[in-house]
């Protein structure tokens, strides 16, 4: 499309870039024929650096190049296929062998593993082009897995490999090129190419395609500049959109794998594969695959318009549904709905932004076509201001996160942030949730405009949302702190943004600490939207809240307002202060014992923004306050669904292996709306089956969406309609069609349990994975503020009376908040007990030896990890049959 025309690449540019390349290594590999979904080998690339590789599987063939580069192959063994299947399973398998307990995200041995799974690349059934990416996460320090569409995964398989490992750390910027037709892999230095993905993917598609038409045979993995100064880097997997005549980007978003990628100085991995056709998996029973595909294509054709509208707006179809059912996170998960939501409804995006009537599949044959995009979108900020670009999205998570959860109800700003997240290479979900946290800290007065150097962190300022990312690119400014994630924000705020105590004010030597005039702190939401009785509420009025004013503003604002009605990201821009004499400089180790409220200087090489200014520690009460509403678990930010009223989903998030991402379990409707899983045992069963079923998608190379974002007509007659049994059978059919083996629910769950349990033990190996690490922030369980309680006072009062058995009459709101939250914490504890029991874990969350034996994962290296925990906790089994595990 001609509208997306601001960054076209000239032939001269490409020639100049190529001339600057220096070849570091070339590897030629033998072609293979895929047997029932497997090549039976993986591709290993080390790009330099020093690390111990002695525990890894041996290379079956390899070459060594310059700068200590190595390219080689590893065998995919029957053991790997039996125990780990593929996709995420292969990723975790290789990662386990590549690293040690002391490996950190930036250690050279940290391994990025990309694996498409044995069913990936099918073109007859929708949603079969997924890759799974694994690495040690900079946010969590434990293995993370992230799934992604785009063409790379299937092309990798058809080029001849079931997985790609990227290990080491390069001294120079490099590009890796896999030629699936010439059967070569090369590593070149690449000093001149862009880093930001929307440009780099265009450059490399141009560079490695022999003709314009050949671009559809190219896929590029890249990550933009913001990932270099943040922990939330994502990987962009490209595919060529020939109707738009531009590259499209799909993201492996969660966990900061893009940060690892850029730390290794990989600019891109490029693959080319020509000759795609529908039988490249060499399937065993093609008829089964075709028949399943036809069934689903028909459902999409006949049912999508009356059901989810995936072909018009993709996952963003649920924005208004979430709002209607009080599940749309607004203002850092305080509320579940907002009167301004119609401004960002799917209808607005369909009618005003997202191009319609294009077959937007991110892999061939996907009739769900949900990879929507806004074309000719003109940017307002940043280095590409004024450019017209193609924005991939909005996905629901982007609209909810970068919209309502940060308090922004302007579709333009949502799409602009969506674009910059993608091209700069940061995860939209973490970006949104960590911004919402920073905004709430500001609203609560935990830091001020001096701390942000004038950046306006009030709710919903669209300029600020994007400015934070521009600062992540430059490596300077408050955005660098935000980009480290909520866990690091809490630490940094706590050690640097406290208030100077009166007894130490003399140390400032006349420096005016709060010299920027604070704006009026705007309240986030008219609570009478929920509760008409609150229109003249004394408590809210005492906080300066003016419901009528806010409602008036909402009604009076036009669609394209500017978030918090600002026209800039900045309230003021002060000069950086000179260092103040007399304030001591201390080491990082000395901070723990430094007095609260006493200024000091220190040094943070990873976040230099605050190095030139005095730091002051917060009070313990302020630190505890941030723990309550900092929406992270295990270091990963929560994804964008309000979970407060669904105990099962609270568990779905907090008990998720990698951190709170909903791709293991999304149980809110089953639990909160349908009340289909009322007992702890019911919820525990759901928190077993659904994570196992969804894990299975990640093992095979499948997308979750065609499973339950269209529902067959006869599903209403099923005993367990939430499972969509007809579609589950489709998956078993295509599994049999490719691999030639019958599959059942029992065998499917078994496959997943093996990898799921392996991942839990892997996390344990890395120093996490116990019950204490599954503890969520209080806000995920219920209302932690009086405002949140009052917004749904009727609901909470009824719960107190009918469920807890306490009469709310005569109690203050603060007392009622405490009663509700105490009850909910006790419920959560019982849920965790039930889930651990169902999963075969101890009350501390350690997988039992008996469980490993049951699922045939009693591998010595796994037993070695759990043994000391089980013995200490008294769960090591007695009996002759267990002696061999001693």
């Amino acid at each position: 499309m001609s509208d997306n025309c601001s960054h076209k690449i000239s032939k001269d540019d490409i020639t100049r870039m190529k001339a600057a390349h220096k070849r570091l290594a070339t590897y030629s590999f033998e072609p293979t024929t895929i047997e029932r979904g497997y090549n039976n080998r993986s591709l290993y690339i080390s790009i330099g650096g020093s690390f111990d590789a002695s525990n890894q599987d041996k290379l079956t063939a390899s070459v060594s190049g310059e700068n200590c580069t190595v390219i080689g192959e590893k065998a995919v063994t029957p053991h790997m296929k039996d125990k780990f299947v593929g996709g995420k399973g292969f990723g975790l398998y290789h990662l386990w062998k590549a690293i040690s307990e002391g490996t950190r995200w930036n250690s050279p041995e940290n391994d990025i593993v990309i694996s498409p799974g044995p069913l990936a690349g099918i073109t007859q059934y929708p949603g079969a082009g997924k890759s799974l990416v694994c690495a040690i996460s900079p946010l969590t320090g434990i293995p993370v897995d992230s799934n992604v569409g785009g063409f790379f995964g299937p092309f990798l398989k058809f080029a001849g490999f079931d997985a790609l490992e990227l290990q080491g750390k390069s001294d120079e910027e490099i590009i890796i090129f896999i030629d699936g037709n010439e059967h070569t892999v090369t590593i070149d230095t690449a000093p001149l190419e862009a880093v930001d993905s929307h440009i780099l993917a265009e450059q490399l598609s141009e560079m490695y395609a022999s003709t314009h038409e050949d671009k559809e045979n190219i896929s590029v993995i890249s990550c933009g500049r913001a990932s270099e100064n943040s922990y939330i880097g994502c990987l962009n997997f490209s595919f060529w959109d020939k109707r738009r005549d531009c590259v499209r980007l799909k993201q492996a978003g969660r966990g900061g794998i893009g940060t690892v990628f850029r730390h290794k100085k990989i600019k891109a991995v490029v693959i080319r594969y020509r000759g795609l056709h529908g039988d490249l998996n060499n399937p065993s029973k093609k008829g089964l695959i075709n028949a399943a595909g036809v069934r689903l294509h028909k459902e999409m054709a006949h049912l999508d318009t009356s059901q989810n509208n995936m072909r018009k707006i993709g996952t963003a179809n649920i924005i208004e549904v979430m709002d209607r059912y009080d599940l749309l996170p607004t203002h850092n998960f305080q509320f579940g709905a907002h009167p301004e939501t119609p401004k960002i409804s799917s209808k607005v995006f369909i009618e005003k932004y997202v191009t319609q009537n294009l077959p937007d599949g991110c892999w061939y044959g996907c009739s769900m076509s949900c990879a929507k995009a806004a074309d000719g979108f003109e940017l307002r900020t940043g280095p590409y201001k004024g450019h017209k670009v193609c924005v991939d999205g909005p996905e629901y998570e982007n609209a909810a996160g970068l919209g309502s959860n940060v308090g922004c109800f302007d579709p333009h700003w949502i799409l602009e942030a969506n674009f910059y997240c993608d091209t700069y290479g940061v995860d939209t979900i973490s970006m949104a949730t960590m911004t919402a946290f920073a905004e709430e800290c500001y609203q609560r007065g935990l830091y001020n405009l001096n701390d942000t150097e004038g950046l306006d962190m009030r709710w919903g300022n669209g300029y600020t949302l994007n400015e934070l990312m521009h600062q992540m690119v430059t490596g300077d400014g408050f955005g660098v702190i935000v980009g480290k994630g909520i866990r690091q924000q809490k630490r940094i705020f706590a050690e640097r943004f406290g208030k100077v105590s009166p007894e130490y004010e003399h140390m400032l030597g006349g420096y005016v600490w709060n010299d920027i005039k604070e704006p009026v702190i705007d309240m986030p939401i008219p609570t009478s939207h929920f509760n008409k009785n609150l229109e003249n509420c004394e408590f809210l009025q005492s906080t300066g809240y003016d419901d009528n004013k806010i409602l008036g503003e909402i009604k009076g604002t036009i669609l394209e307002n500017a978030g918090a009605n600002n026209d800039s990201a900045y309230i003021a821009k002060p000069t950086k202060p000179e260092k103040i004499e007399g304030i001591p400089t201390i080491t990082r180790e000395e901070i723990a014992d430094w007095p609260v409220g006493k200024p000091y200087y220190s040094d943070d090489p990873d976040c230099s923004y605050t190095n030139s200014r005095p730091w002051v520690k917060m009070t313990p009460e302020q630190v505890a306050e941030m723990e309550e509403f900092g929406m992270e678990n295990k270091g990963l930010e929560y994804s964008e669904y309000l979970m407060k009223e669904s105990l099962a989903q609270q568990g779905g998030y907090a008990l998720c292996n990698k951190g709170p991402q909903h791709d293991e379990a999304w149980l809110i409707f089953m639990d909160m709306v349908n009340n289909q899983i009322p007992t702890f045992e019911d919820k525990a069963e759901a928190l077993h089956y659904f994570p196992m079923f969804r894990t299975w998608f990640g093992l095979l190379g499948l997308c979750k969406l065609p499973w339950n974002d269209v529902t067959p007509v006869n599903n209403k007659y099923e005993k367990e309609p939430a499972k969509i049994p007809e579609h589950v059978q489709n998956y078993f059919d295509i599994y049999e069609g490719v691999l030639g083996k019958r599959h059942t629910e029992v065998s499917m769950v078994r496959q997943s349990e093996r990898v799921y349990t392996f991942q839990r033990i892997f996390i344990l190996r890395m120093g996490s994975g116990q019950r204490k690490h599954d503890t969520p922030p209080s806000r995920s369980l219920g209302p932690i503020t009086e405002g949140e309680y009052l917004s749904r006072e009727e609901r909470y009062d009824a719960q107190m009376k009918d469920i807890i058995g306490i009469d709310p009459c005569g109690k203050s709101t603060a007392e009622k908040v405490k009663i509700i939250m105490d009850y909910r914490w006790s419920q959560f504890k019982q849920l965790v007990d039930a889930v651990y029991k169902r999963r075969g874990w101890t009350p501390n969350g350690i997988p039992k030896l008996e469980k490993l034996i049951e699922i045939e994962m009693d591998l010595p290296e796994l037993v070695a990890v759990i043994r000391p925990y089980l013995k200490e906790e008294g769960y090591w089994p007695q009996g002759e049959e267990y002696k061999k595990y001693e």
């Binding site: 009356s306 059912y325 809110i668 709306v673 349908n674 529902t711 969509i724």
Partner: protein, 69 residues
């Protein structure tokens, strides 16, 4: 004497004479396009929701089939 109730999604719900499935849906603000209704484990087709009444002590399931995230 206790007020008559039905069971709606495993919770007691006030019963009144002539209460239809559609009326319950309106009261509960259930307007999602993919909803399954069962009374005492018997499926009720959508075209019958307006005319189907419930009786006291009926077990009514109104199930949203919603994929979510």
């Amino acid at each position: 004497m206790n007020e008559p109730v039905i069971t709606l999604n495993n919770r007691p719900y006030p019963f009144k004479e002539g209460l239809t499935i559609s009326a319950i849906m309106t009261e509960r603000k259930y307007d999602f396009p993919a909803i399954i209704v069962r009374i005492n484990n018997k499926h009720i087709e959508e075209e019958d929701w307006q005319t189907t009444t419930v009786a006291a002590d009926d077990n009514v399931e109104i199930i949203h089939v919603f994929g979510g995230g």
